[in-house]
Symmetry: C2
């Protein structure tokens, strides 16, 4: 996969609704040469995550959007090809937000070294990376699960949800997943060890979820919004918690959806059942990284949790893979293998 140029994927147009391939462009530049204090990184794995959809809109959010013509943002695991930086050497494996491209220059800011001896390096994008930390903090710190409680996790086989469900099981909860495809639901129960998994394709999702939660819901880990939220909030127990991690069902909305208006009904339940609904963005919780890294590494090593990756080959397939992610077509943490992995393979369970 070595090339004589650096292909990068840029934002060509701001999407109206669902993004289309023409909202992106491929641009070929010269492979960069590091100056003093810099290093050249060759991207090995690029992470594709739902939050990237928000970066494509020109609206106020928690960080500025990607500008038109700029390289799409994203975290990646790279190998240092050439270093003129005192702290990094050629051959090092690093993680940083280097974007959708084959090569990047870096002065080291925001980069951290990835230790290939702990787990396959791609996990720095998933179970041991930002999605993993998101699931860990969202469940444990915001959700505050107690033994015997019922936890419902949407997008249950995704990068975040799969860790939420498995940690909730480790904490002694009854865990009910919500996913789409039948294969995902089976995987959630058979491999991740959830008690039940309900499909959001079910004609009567609310009824199916109710059957799966005979004691109601104490924690609803919110990744999706839409009808899954509606089904879950109606089953919340008094003093229930809803960590709000995402709402992928609405990322392509171009304005408020048509009625009926569900807000007043949701607020009524929040009030009468004394729920806590709390949004969070993972960079507010980086102080938990040491605990997270220790706990999850240990659980992985002991085989108490597993993970699954959906690996797409080549930067040229990144756009299609991302569009599929927004449609829920990935199965496990979606990564693009951009170039050869110098540490060898690696895959989830």
């Amino acid at each position: 996969m070595s090339t004589s140029f650096n292909r990068r994927i840029t934002l060509a147009a701001r999407p109206q609704g669902a993004p289309k391939p023409s909202d992106f462009a491929a641009v070929d530049d010269a492979v960069p040469t590091p100056g003093d204090g810099e290093m050249r990184l060759r991207t090995v794995y690029l992470s594709l995550d739902p939050y990237m959809r928000g970066r494509m809109n020109d609206v106020r959010s928690y960080v500025p959007p990607v500008r038109l013509g700029d390289t799409m943002e994203g975290g990646a695991v790279s190998v240092v090809e050439e270093s003129r930086h005192p702290k990094f050497s050629a051959g090092d494996i690093v993680f940083g937000y280097t974007g959708w491209q084959q090569y990047a220059l870096s002065n080291g800011a925001g980069m951290r070294t990835v230790d290939p001896s702990i787990a396959p390096i791609s996990t720095a994008l998933g179970v041991l990376g930002m999605p993993g930390l998101t699931g860990y903090v969202g469940l444990l710190d915001l959700g505050q699960p107690k033994e015997g409680e019922t936890v419902v996790v949407s997008a249950a086989t995704g990068a975040v949800g799969s860790l939420v469900g498995q940690i909730a099981k480790l904490k002694g909860c009854r865990v009910v997943g919500v996913a789409g495809a039948e294969a995902k639901c089976r995987y959630a129960v058979d491999t991740l060890g959830l008690d039940v998994c309900v499909s959001h394709h079910d004609a009567d999702l609310a009824e199916a979820l109710k059957d799966a939660c005979p004691d109601g819901i104490d924690i609803y880990y919110e990744n999706v919004g839409g009808k899954v939220f509606d089904a879950a909030i109606g089953l919340m127990n008094v003093h229930g918690r809803i960590p709000v991690c995402g709402g992928i069902a609405h990322y392509n909305d171009t304005g408020s959806p048509p009625g009926p208006d569900r807000l007043a009904g949701a607020m009524r339940i929040i009030l009468t059942r004394r729920l806590t609904v709390r949004g969070f963005i993972i960079f507010d919780h980086h102080h938990r990284i040491p605990d997270f890294a220790r706990d999850v590494s240990e659980w992985l090593r002991d085989g108490r949790i597993g993970y699954r990756e959906d690996v797409v080959e080549g930067i040229d397939n990144a756009v299609e893979a991302f569009l599929g992610l927004l449609r829920g077509e990935n199965f496990g943490k979606l990564v693009v293998k951009v170039s050869e992995n110098p540490t060898g393979g690696g895959s989830g369970r």
Copy 2:
């Protein structure tokens, strides 16, 4: 106002939308005679509060609804007329949930004595009672105000809101009220001491609130829902808090209102600005009563806070007064003076 019968107001029909007078009935019974361990109470002040609307619906909530034909529930301050109870004596002033009626029998359960030397006894229904505790706990415990933060309180001159605003001022916050009538807005600023008060009748409420909150909103104390919520949530700062105390704009809804659907937009803001939205019902927070009673009594005594009551005369006017409350027509804590106050008058500022 002494009568030879006990007039009580019962729930005659479950309202569809806004309640009408025919949803209530007046029933005259004999004045009750206490048995052993009982006492007869003569209602002096009956409290009318928005939560009572919810009790009229036959739906799951935090307590069972009033049954058809039963006396409407409500807190009241009464005088003990005749006691065969060891702990209460004739002439004692007591508070309890004795309902919309002129007389009640009580075995003492749930009754507490009101000390007329602290403040006028009607305040046991307002600033020193359930609404006061609700404002105190909602602002301080859930809102966690910090000096210099901006607090927006809806229904700013109401029984709960007026205490929220005044306590927030005591805590060094910039406080912006939202109320209806111009006289209420003036009162909020001139008497309660809020920095600004915006009318929800303003043609562009969102813009008016934005002007009033140049640094955004850190705490939105939610009493009303509807367009006030919409205006406020758009201005919330990162890590803002929304204690959800009520939503009177929706209490007469018979189902989900027509679109557009505001829920996804609200959830997006909750997520990206990392808000905490927390519903509460005051009976979960009774452990705070000693702190509340100490602090608010002291603030009242020192003249650091004031209160206002809207006193309606006679049980026969309770229904109209309650319907007016749901339309926002009261100005201050709404109470019905059901019979002569044996301790003398008393009024707010």
